[in-house]
Subunit: 160 residues, 2 copies
């Protein structure tokens, strides 16, 4: 897995490979029960409040810490999500007015899916706040944990 966040560029790039067809990885992104099983840092639990994977449809989820404090993210989809591509914007209730844009593509070769995620921010400062994260361990740790959890989930889905 690679995470790139170059200084001075309001961008975070992630590349990660999964030993699973992209149809399964796509399911893990678009079925609420599956999303709740992998998305978010270790130690937080996720409630998917809304997930309407079509053009203009909205999603909303809440990460809860061990004290029950919730962190709400929400936004719309742009274009209807497909196993090739998901585009969605994010807003975080702690930073109203700051919007960032995620474009995720899935490429499949010989049963291996390569996920590439581009996250762009209005400013480098907004990107840096995101990378530093709201948690003690920072966002990069959370991304790595999420991707590991997603890997474990799709490995299980492959067997089903």
């Amino acid at each position: 897995m690679e995470i790139t966040a170059d200084p001075g560029v309001p961008l975070v790039l992630i590349t990660r490979r999964f030993d699973a067809p992209r149809a399964l990885v796509f399911r893990a992104y678009t079925e609420p029960d599956l999303v709740a099983r992998w998305l978010g840092p270790a130690g937080l639990t996720l409630t998917v409040n809304q997930l309407d994977p079509r053009h203009g449809g909205r999603w909303r989820w809440t990460h809860y810490d061990s004290d029950g404090k919730g962190f709400v993210f929400h936004g719309p989809y742009h274009g209807t999500p497909s196993p090739e591509r998901i585009v969605q914007t994010y807003e975080f209730d702690l930073y109203p007015g700051v919007v960032y844009l995620n474009t995720i593509t899935f490429d499949e070769n010989d049963g291996v899916t390569t996920l590439r995620q581009s996250t762009v921010f209005p400013t480098v400062e907004d990107r840096d706040v995101y990378v530093e994260g709201g948690t003690e361990t920072g966002t990069e740790t959370g991304i790595r944990a999420s991707m590991d959890q997603l890997d474990a989930l799709v490995a299980q889905l492959v067997k089903e």
Copy 2:
């Protein structure tokens, strides 16, 4: 007026000052009849098909060339637009799946409004396609023409 589009960074920054209160500049962005009078390159006419300036509301407009060919842009607003800030994502029918994010802020001092626009793209390649533009003269010329037209419009609104 400054336009910044550094190599390797998927970003276009615009700064422009107007001799008008920001409430008037904001009106020029959110009232369909006014938008149609300034937005777009010289030589194209604009039809505002939809403009719903509230959180989750959608906008849609079409630039027509002299042959009557239309170029459709559309997307949602993120957060309710205010004289301080407008955030909206853009999709262009010619490039489905490519979404870009505009964050515009308006600062007013002594009756002069400074507009700052950050446009971020999923990739540098997407940014470069945007900057090269679909027209013979390129997007930068179109942006400068739009901003000059906006300047003329708000100068007129100041007098009304």
